[in-house]
C-alpha cells in the first residue's frame, strides 16, 4: 500500500512543475557552493605551499651563510648572524606550523575564514605570531560564504518545505482528499507515503548532488577517516531533513489552508535560523562576557613596561630560577639578548592571568553553545557540518594546543643555547624541532557529530509521532 502511494506521489511530482524548477536550481546552488568551498581550500593549500617553500629557501640561505662564516667569512650584519641561537630562533629559522585543510574542508568553510591556518613559530611570545589573520574583505566575512554548508543549513529546509508545506492542505483544497479517504486507506498511511516519497526524492537529490560535488571538488576519499566523515555528513543531512519533514507534517496536521501552512512554516524556519541563534549568542555573551581585547592590549603593555622597569634585577632572578640554562657558566648580566629573554618571560608571566581569563570565558561560551545548540536544528547542523569538515573552532583549538607545545619545545631547544652563547653550525640547522599536525582522533569528532545527529533525530521522531497521532483527529468533513 505504502509503495503504491509513493509510486503515485512520484508520478504526481513528475507531472508537476515544482520539482523540475526546484531540482536544477538546487543542483546549481550546490554546485556553486562546492565550487566556492573548493577554491577556498585550494587557496589555503597554495598559501601553505608558499610558506613551506619560503621556509626551505630561508633555511638553505641561512645554512649557506653559516657554512661560509664557519670557513672564516663575515656575517652580513652583526645583528643577524645566523650562527647566534637567538637569531636562529627568532629570525632565520622559525618554522611554520601548518594546519592543512581536512579532507572534507571544501564542503563547509565554517570558521576557517576567521582564524589563521599557519603560524610562523619563533622564540618570541605567542601573541606576536598568532594574530596573522588571512586577508579578507570584512564585508565578505559579514555576508558569510556561499558554501555547501550554507546551502544545506538554509536552503535545503526551504526545498523540503516547498515540496511539503501543502502536503495535505492541497489535497483537501482540490477535493482529492475525500476521494482518497473513501478508499480503504488510513490517513496516516497516506501521509506516511506522501512524506516518505518526498523524503526519498529530497535525500536522493541532496546526497546525489553532494556526492557529485565532492567528487568534482576533488575531495580525496583516500584520506584517513574520509569515508566515515562522508557517512556522517550524509547522516546529518538526512537527520536535518527528517526534522523539517516532521515539522511540515505537524503543521499540516492542524488542517489549515495551504497559505497559512506556508506562512507558519516560513515563520518557523526563520525563527530557527535567525532569532534563536542570535538570542543564544546574546545569552552566551551575557553569561560569559569576553573582556574586551582592548583591555588585553593595555594589560600586555602595562606588563611589559613593568617587566622592562625591573630590568637587570629580573635577569638575575630569571637565571636563579633556571639554573639549567647557564649549565655552570656565568651569564653576562649586561647581555641584551639574555636580558630581553628575562623581560619576555616576566611579561608573559604577568599577562598569563589575563589570557587565561579570556580563554575561560570563550570556553564557557562554547560549552553553553554546545549545550543549548539543541534549541535550533540549524545550530546543531552548523556545528556538526563544521566538525565533519574540520572547520570548527574545536579543530582550531586543537591546532593551537599543538602549536603551544611546539612553541615550548622550540624555546626549550634554543633558550639554553642563547644563554650559553653557543654558536650554531650548519648541521645544527637540521636538528631544529619541526612541527607536524596530527588530526583530532576521528572518534572524538564522530562522538560530537553523533550527539548532534541524535539532537536532530529525536525531535524529528517526537514531532513526527505527535503529528501522526494528531492526524487521528484530522477533520475530513465539517
Amino acid at each position: 500500500m505504502l509503495t503504491r502511494i509513493m509510486r503515485h506521489e512520484w508520478r504526481s511530482l513528475v507531472a508537476d512543475r515544482t520539482l523540475w524548477i526546484i531540482a536544477p536550481l538546487f543542483a546549481l546552488l550546490i554546485g556553486y557552493g562546492v565550487y566556492n568551498g573548493t577554491s577556498w581550500v585550494s587557496f589555503q593549500r597554495s598559501t601553505l605551499d608558499a610558506a613551506q617553500q619560503e621556509e626551505r629557501d630561508r633555511f638553505a640561505k641561512a645554512k649557506a651563510e653559516v657554512a661560509s662564516i664557519e670557513q672564516g667569512g663575515q656575517p652580513a650584519s652583526a645583528f643577524a648572524n645566523p650562527r647566534l641561537p637567538s637569531v636562529a630562533a627568532g629570525r632565520t629559522a622559525p618554522r611554520y606550523a601548518l594546519l592543512p585543510p581536512a579532507p572534507l574542508a571544501a564542503l563547509s568553510v565554517g570558521q576557517s575564514d576567521l582564524y589563521p591556518y599557519y603560524f610562523k613559530v619563533s622564540s618570541q611570545s605567542k601573541q606576536t605570531f598568532t594574530t596573522n589573520d588571512e586577508i579578507e574583505n570584512p564585508t565578505n566575512l559579514l555576508a558569510g560564504r556561499f558554501d555547501l554548508a550554507f546551502v544545506i543549513i538554509y536552503l535545503y529546509p526551504l526545498l523540503i518545505l516547498a515540496l511539503s508545506y501543502n502536503l495535505l492542505s492541497i489535497e483537501r483544497e482540490q477535493g482529492t482528499l475525500q476521494m482518497m479517504m473513501s478508499q480503504p486507506v488510513s490517513l496516516r498511511t497516506f501521509v506516511t507515503g506522501k512524506i516518505g516519497l518526498r523524503a526519498l526524492v529530497v535525500l536522493a537529490l541532496a546526497a546525489g548532488f553532494s556526492l557529485a560535488g565532492f567528487l568534482l571538488g576533488g575531495v580525496s576519499l583516500n584520506a584517513e577517516g574520509a569515508w566515515l566523515r562522508l557517512l556522517l555528513w550524509i547522516g546529518i543531512v538526512a537527520g536535518y531533513g527528517a526534522f523539517w519533514f516532521a515539522l511540515a507534517v505537524a503543521v499540516n496536521a492542524f488542517g489549515k489552508s495551504s497559505a497559512t501552512n506556508a506562512m507558519a512554516l516560513a515563520g518557523l524556519w526563520l525563527v530557527f535560523v535567525l532569532p534563536i541563534p542570535s538570542l543564544l549568542n546574546v545569552a552566551v555573551t551575557t553569561i560569559y562576557p569576553v573582556p574586551s581585547r582592548v583591555e588585553m592590549v593595555q594589560a600586555t603593555r602595562r606588563a611589559s613596561a613593568e617587566a622592562t622597569a625591573k630590568g637587570s634585577q629580573l635577569l638575575s632572578k630569571y637565571l636563579e630560577d633556571h639554573p639549567e640554562l647557564t649549565a655552570g657558566n656565568q651569564a653576562d648580566p649586561n647581555d641584551f639578548v639574555t636580558r630581553s629573554l628575562a623581560i619576555q618571560s616576566e611579561t608573559e608571566r604577568l599577562i598569563q592571568p589575563v589570557i587565561d581569563h579570556f580563554d575561560r570565558q570563550v570556553l564557557g561560551q562554547q560549552s553553553l553553545v554546545d549545550r543549548f545548540r539543541f534549541l535550533s536544528p540549524a545550530i546543531v547542523t552548523q556545528a556538526a557540518l563544521n566538525d565533519i569538515a574540520g572547520t570548527s573552532v574545536a579543530r582550531y583549538r586543537h591546532f593551537l594546543s599543538l602549536v603551544d607545545e611546539f612553541h615550548k619545545q622550540w624555546r626549550g631547544h634554543f633558550t639554553p643555547r642563547i644563554v650559553q652563547k653557543a654558536l650554531l653550525s650548519a648541521s645544527d640547522y637540521d636538528r631544529f624541532p619541526s612541527f607536524s599536525f596530527g588530526e583530532e582522533p576521528t572518534g572524538v569528532v564522530a562522538k560530537r557529530v553523533l550527539a548532534g545527529l541524535f539532537g536532530l533525530l529525536i525531535p524529528a521522531l517526537v514531532i513526527g509521532w505527535l503529528s501522526l497521532r494528531a492526524l487521528r483527529r484530522y477533520q475530513l468533513a465539517g
Binding site: A50, P138, A143, Y154, S258, T260, L274, V284, V294, Q298
Partner: protein, 473 residues
C-alpha cells in the same frame, strides 16, 4: 476613496490574529535589538575612551629614552564608534578594533571581535538593522500577499469593482493601509530608538549624528516601499493567494539570503585579493630594496650618505652638524611608507571595488543596496574603517618623524645612546580623529541610494500597472 479603502485595510489587519502576533514578535525583537545595541555602543565607547586615554598617558609617562625607542614603543589607536552604530554593527565584528602605531611598520588592525565569539554568531547578530532589513519586509509580505488575490478568491473583488471603484484607487488605498499598519510598529520603535540614543549619547553627539539618522530613516522607508510595491503587484498578478505568497517568499529569500552571499563570493572572484602571506612577502621584498634604518651597509644608504654630505657641504659623517642615524631612520620610513601606500591602497581599493560590485548588485536585490547604505550611515562599513586606518597611519608617520627629527637635530654624535627628555613626548600632539560627515558617507553610496529609489519607484509603478490589468476572477 483611497482613505476609505486604506481604513478598511487597516481595520482588517488589526483584527487579523496572524498580523497581531507577527507584529508583536517583530516589535519585541526590534526593541530588544535597540536596547542591546545601545548597551553595546556604551560599553565599547567607554572601553575605547579609557584605553585611548591610557595609551596617551603611557606615552607621556615614558622616562628619558632614545626617541627611536619611543617610536618603537609607539601608541595604540582604538577605533571610535559613531552613535548610529548602535543600529547597525556592520563589519565591526569582522575588523580589528585597535592598531599599534610603531616605528617602521604599518600594522594590521588586530583582534576581530568575531574571533572571540562562537560559531553561532555567523547566523547573524540581532541588530535593529537585521530586523529592519529582513523581518519587516517579511511582515509586509504577510500583510499584503492576499491584498488582491485574497479578495479575488472571496469574490469581494468582483463586488468592489462592480461598485465603480477605480483600480488605481484600490492600489494606493491598500498601500496606504499597509503603511498605516507598519507605522504602528515603526513610529513607537523610532521614538524608543531616539530616546535610547539620547540616553547613551553624551551631550551634543545626538545632534551631530542627526543628519545620518535622518538619512537612515529615509533609506529604510524607500526599502519598505519596495516591498509594499512588489507585494501588491504580485498579489494582483498571481492566480491564487497561495501562489502570491510562495512567489513573494521566494523573492524575500533570494533578496535577503541568497544574494548577499552569492554576490560576496562572486565579487571575490572578480576582484581577487592576495593571501596575507603573499602580501607580506611582496612588501618585504620591496622593503629590502631600501635601507631598513638599522642597516647602513647597503647601496641606498651609501647614496643617502653622499646626498647628505653634499647637502651639508662636508666630506665625512663625523663632520655633519646633524645626526646621520636620525636622517637614515627617517629615510627608511619614507621608503617603507611608499611601499605601504602602494600595497595597502591597492588592497583596499580591491576591497572597495568588491563592495562597489555589491552595491551594483543592488539592482538585483534591494537588500544589497540598503545594507550598504545602512552600514555607511552607521559608520560601520569598510570605507569608514579605511578612513580611520588612514588617519591612524598618518598619525603614526607624524609621530615617528617627530622622533626621528629629534634624533637628527639633537642626538649629536651619541646615536642610539642619546636620551631625549620626557618633555619631548609632550610635543607630540594627541591623536584626534574626526569621523567623516554624513555627506561624505552619502557620497560613497550614490549607486545604492539611486538603486533604492529606482527600486521603490519601479515597484510602485509595477503595482499600479499590474492592478490596472488584473483579472477580476
Amino acid at each position: 476613496m483611497i482613505v476609505k479603502i486604506a481604513r478598511k485595510e487597516f481595520t482588517e489587519m488589526l483584527r487579523d490574529g496572524r498580523f497581531r502576533w507577527a507584529a508583536a514578535i517583530v516589535f519585541a525583537l526590534l526593541l530588544a535589538s535597540l536596547v542591546m545595541g545601545g548597551k553595546h555602543y556604551r560599553d565599547v565607547k567607554r572601553q575605547h575612551d579609557l584605553a585611548q586615554a591610557e595609551t596617551r598617558d603611557q606615552w607621556l609617562r615614558q622616562p628619558a629614552k632614545n626617541p627611536h625607542s619611543a617610536a618603537h614603543y609607539g601608541i595604540y589607536a582604538f577605533k571610535p564608534k559613531l552613535l548610529p552604530a548602535m543600529l547597525d554593527r556592520g563589519v565591526d565584528p569582522f575588523v580589528g578594533q585597535s592598531v599599534w602605531l610603531e616605528a617602521h611598520k604599518q600594522n594590521e588592525f588586530k583582534f576581530k571581535p568575531a574571533q572571540d565569539a562562537t560559531a553561532v554568531q555567523r547566523f547573524g547578530e540581532l541588530t535593529a538593522a537585521t530586523v529592519l532589513q529582513l523581518l519587516i519586509p517579511l511582515l509586509i509580505i504577510l500583510l499584503s500577499f492576499s491584498a488582491f488575490a485574497g479578495e479575488r478568491e472571496q469574490g469581494t473583488l468582483r463586488q468592489l469593482l462592480s461598485l465603480g471603484v477605480r483600480k488605481t484607487d484600490l492600489v494606493w488605498g491598500k498601500a496606504l493601509g499597509v503603511s498605516g499598519a507598519l507605522a504602528l510598529l515603526i513610529v513607537p520603535a523610532t521614538i524608543v530608538g531616539v530616546v535610547a540614543l539620547a540616553m547613551v549619547s553624551d551631550n551634543g553627539l545626538l545632534g551631530a549624528s542627526a543628519g545620518r539618522m535622518a538619512w537612515l530613516f529615509v533609506s529604510y522607508l524607500l526599502y519598505f516601499g519596495v516591498f509594499i510595491g512588489v507585494s501588491l503587484a504580485v498579489s494582483a498578478w498571481a492566480k491564487s493567494s497561495q501562489m502570491a505568497l510562495v512567489v513573494l517568499l521566494a523573492f524575500w529569500i533570494v533578496n535577503g539570503l541568497i544574494a548577499p552571499r552569492a554576490v560576496a563570493d562572486a565579487a571575490k572572484r572578480v576582484h581577487p585579493t592576495p593571501s596575507a602571506f603573499a602580501f607580506q612577502q611582496t612588501m618585504d621584498r620591496e622593503m629590502q630594496s631600501g635601507p631598513d634604518g638599522h642597516d647602513t651597509a647597503d647601496k641606498r644608504a651609501e647614496a643617502l650618505k653622499q646626498k647628505v654630505l653634499k647637502q651639508y657641504g662636508v666630506d665625512k659623517l663625523e663632520a655633519l652638524p646633524v645626526n646621520f642615524a636620525g636622517i637614515s631612520l627617517q629615510e627608511g620610513e619614507e621608503h617603507s611608507n611608499v611601499v605601504f601606500d602602494k600595497h595597502y591602497s591597492e588592497l583596499w581599493n580591491r576591497f572597495e571595488r568588491q563592495n562597489r560590485l555589491k552595491q551594483l548588485a543592488g539592482a538585483v536585490a534591494p537588500m544589497l543596496a540598503i545594507q550598504s547604505v545602512s552600514m555607511s550611515l552607521a559608520g560601520t562599513d569598510f570605507a569608514h574603517h579605511r578612513n580611520f586606518a588612514t588617519a591612524a597611519e598618518s598619525y603614526r608617520r607624524f609621530l615617528v618623524k617627530k622622533m626621528n627629527d629629534d634624533m637628527t637635530f639633537n642626538a649629536g654624535k651619541e646615536d642610539f645612546s642619546y636620551l631625549a627628555k620626557p618633555a619631548l613626548w609632550q610635543t607630540v600632539e594627541d591623536f584626534r580623529y574626526d569621523a567623516p560627515s554624513a555627506s561624505w558617507a552619502l557620497s560613497q553610496q550614490t549607486i545604492s541610494l539611486a538603486l533604492l529609489t529606482l527600486w521603490c519607484l519601479a515597484a510602485l509603478t509595477f503595482a499600479a500597472v499590474t492592478t490596472a490589468k488584473m483579472r477580476v476572477d
